[in-house]
Amino acid sequence: MTAAQFPILILIIPLLAAFAISLFGGRRDKLAYGLLLAAMSGSFYAALQTLLLVLETNIPIHYRLGGWAPPYGIELVIDHLNAMVLCLVSGCALLTAIYSLPTVRAEIPDRIHHYYTLYCLLVTGLAGMVATGDAFNLYVLLEISALSSYAMLARGRGNAYYATFKYIIMGTIGACFYLLGVGYLYIKTGTLNMADLFRLLAEEEMQQSITIRIGFILIMIGIWIKMAFFPLHGWLPNAYTRASTTTSCLIAPLMTKVSVYIMLRLMFSVFSVEFVYGVIPWHEQIVWLASLAIVAGSISALAQRNLKKMLTYIIVAEVGYMVGGAWLANESGLAGTVYHILSDALMTLALFMAVGAIIHKTGKSSFAAMEGIFRKMPVTSAVFVLGGFAIIGIPPTCGFFSKWYLIRGGIETGQWLFVGALLFSSLINAIIFFRLIERAYFGDLSGHGHGPLPERDEAPAVMLVPMVVTAAALVIIGLYTSEIIGRIVLWTIPAGL
């Protein structure tokens, strides 16, 4: 096996594992679990090697599928931005895979291998969306990941079916809008390869074309629906809240972040900086909308009394951070967005894992589950606190640094509304998390303070290890911020910004 094959291995390994698990995984749960772990480790290793290769040479990797030269063949293009996101996708998938066994056994006891098959297909779709350099290929992989996520979300509790149905309708509208937009681009240019589209769309005639503008708007609306950008976020909170623990740990951090990546990819690798900020004169209004998303998401999160639902509204606010940062049209804002993709995926993962462990152990998902949790589950609550600190933006967690770049971008462009929204959201997050930490540490102050102290009842080790790794990554990435910004993030800033 040569190093040249690593880009395709990132997606091929989970795809083949999906077949293997559905064929052989039914015999024993442990076999399905082992195959899943092997596939995710292989995919993560390939992603890591690809990232190292890109960092070493500092030029994008072009992988031609079947040896067909673009623009006729499909190619995978891996540069700094998607090498980082690929590592993030396969890394989060590996950590969630390790974490999954106890909760999947408790929640979906009968068809573990089917569930793990869907898991592999979802990871294939997400990694493929990130790696591909073809606009139509992106649509197909978008639908692969969407279809497997519908099936995974539907295996939740309560009225998961109804929430999933709404997601199917919204997700299909989003994907179809994207497809329609790509059709507009195809009519004008006759190509679907992203690099080829970029070359053709740079021409003056294309820059002025109404068709191209409408195509761009349709694509953006489609992706905003997919990433649950306010006010198109209605489907997300219910679908993610009702999902089973592992499903929400896998989908909540990755799905929205991959959509943000796709938005950046299309803005700068298909369209250009001049087109996105110059020809479409709306970037200030989109930043206002993003500020509104942040404020609305934060206030809705504050109003929740269910742990998971609260986290889903925080995701809605975080999507506002990233969309706003990308449309600030300056270097700091964009660097903040790229860095926030990394840090937000990890902090969401840490929080969903910790909350999942708490729900798994206590059987409750309301705030009451947090009472006395510090004594019962010390490690889990430490991870929860660290994840909360990252969301609030307390140094040295990585959440502080991404927020710092976003705020700097807002100040440099004079977008005070966006800066205000970011600070407001930090304040609200501080209230949310310190209220929970207080409950977790002191228990219910109003009630019976002299009852028997709760016994120590920690989550099993397979759940604790990935949680601790994620929480450690939050701090380590925070400490190495300048290296990550210099070696990866600054390379992703397109020329001309």
């Binding site: 639908e143 009225n159 109804y162 149905f165 199917i168 497809l179 059709g183």
Partner: protein, 131 residues
């Protein structure tokens, strides 16, 4: 109005796709019955498939198969202006598969909804959730 009619007639395939698209979008948003929403979703997807397929077609063109490749009409379908662009058609084969899978998942979920809530009317489901 006199200018507008030829404009519609000249691009009638796009107008037809647009009308179907809007019917589908309206159905998905406004209908109360979930099965009708699924039907509207299918109409919506079919509209996009028609849009793609019609853009590949040309006036008086044939199918993109090398007809009479070795005979005296050897040049019949080699010139790109004489056959329909096959690429959008091939793309839509994939989109049809995606559409059918989405429809399948949606119907399966709908069946489960009916089993849990006993109805597929959206307002009745919302009432039963609130109780």
């Amino acid at each position: 109005m006199a200018d507008f009619l030829p404009y519609i007639v000249a691009k009638y395939n796009y107008w037809a796709a647009l009308v179907l698209l809007l019917i589908g979008l309206y159905g998905m948003i406004a209908k109360n019955n979930l099965l009708k929403k699924v039907i509207a979703m299918s109409i919506f997807q079919s509209a996009i498939i028609l849009f793609y397929v019609s853009m590949g077609d040309k006036k008086g063109s044939t199918i993109p198969i090398l007809l009479h490749g070795h005979g005296e009409h050897g040049a019949l379908a080699i010139d790109p202006s004489q056959y329909a662009n096959p690429l959008p058609h091939v793309l839509m084969l994939t989109a049809i598969v995606v559409g059918v899978s989405t429809l399948g998942v949606a119907l399966a979920v709908l069946q489960k909804i009916h089993r849990v809530h006993g109805t597929i009317e959206e307002d009745e489901i919302l009432e039963s959730i609130e109780e």
